[in-house]
Symmetry: C2
Subunit: 100 residues, 2 copies
DNA sequence: CTCCTATATAGGAATCGTACGATATACTGC
DNA sequence: GCAGTATATCGTACGATTCCTATATAGGAG
């Protein structure tokens, strides 16, 4: 039973996803892994430092990984972390299906 | 494809779950539906008004429903909302399983 | 109506989050 | 080395969040 001790860590992850720009970044990374940081500023209409800061929040929550590719840095979702968040959310749900 | 427009609404829900007390309340409500508000103050070691405020955040995010039962007010998770959050999270996950 | 319990709201203090412009760091290519 | 591009960090302003105490509101019992 993870349910008790996992709460603070999971709360940090939910918090990280709790901003439209960061959730938007996550959604985009799901569709297009290894997206480089520079692409987000245009898409979300915020400055480069703001993007960088949001990426840092996601990184510190363990939700994304990075790979340097020459001068640019490419971000991807950390599948293990996403699965973990999903797992907690499933414990909240009594309408279990949705399995796709 | 909900993915685009659903982001701001979902971000609000993630944000609501992004606090240890509120996530803790949600976890507890999953195990014990119709828990009355007064029970939470003891469990989470915060004052009654603080609990009330956290419950308000959850309510305004659409994550919980309330039922008045005499002088006390009982909270339950809104299963539809939880399922919705889960759905968005599944679009982030490539390791689909976990279906229980 | 009065008293008691349960919950919500108001007000305020401390802290955190979010955005920006300016600047620093890191890599590439010459 | 220097110049250019890509990211990160610094500094800072402003608004939001979180928690408390004090107070208001709502319902039940007498």
């Amino acid at each position: 039973m993870q349910t008790q001790a996992a709460v603070p860590a999971a709360a940090r992850q939910f918090k990280a996803l709790g901003h439209p720009v960061r959730l938007g970044i996550a959604v985009r990374l799901a569709r297009e892994p290894e997206t480089c940081a520079c692409d987000f500023a245009d898409v979300f209409q915020v400055s480069q430092p703001t993007v960088s800061q949001h990426l840092r929040v996601l990184r510190e929550a363990g939700l994304v990984r990075t790979v340097r590719r020459g001068t640019q840095i490419c971000y991807s979702l950390d599948d293990a972390a996403i699965t973990q968040v999903r797992a907690l959310l499933e414990t909240l749900d009594r309408e279990v299906p949705l399995g796709r």
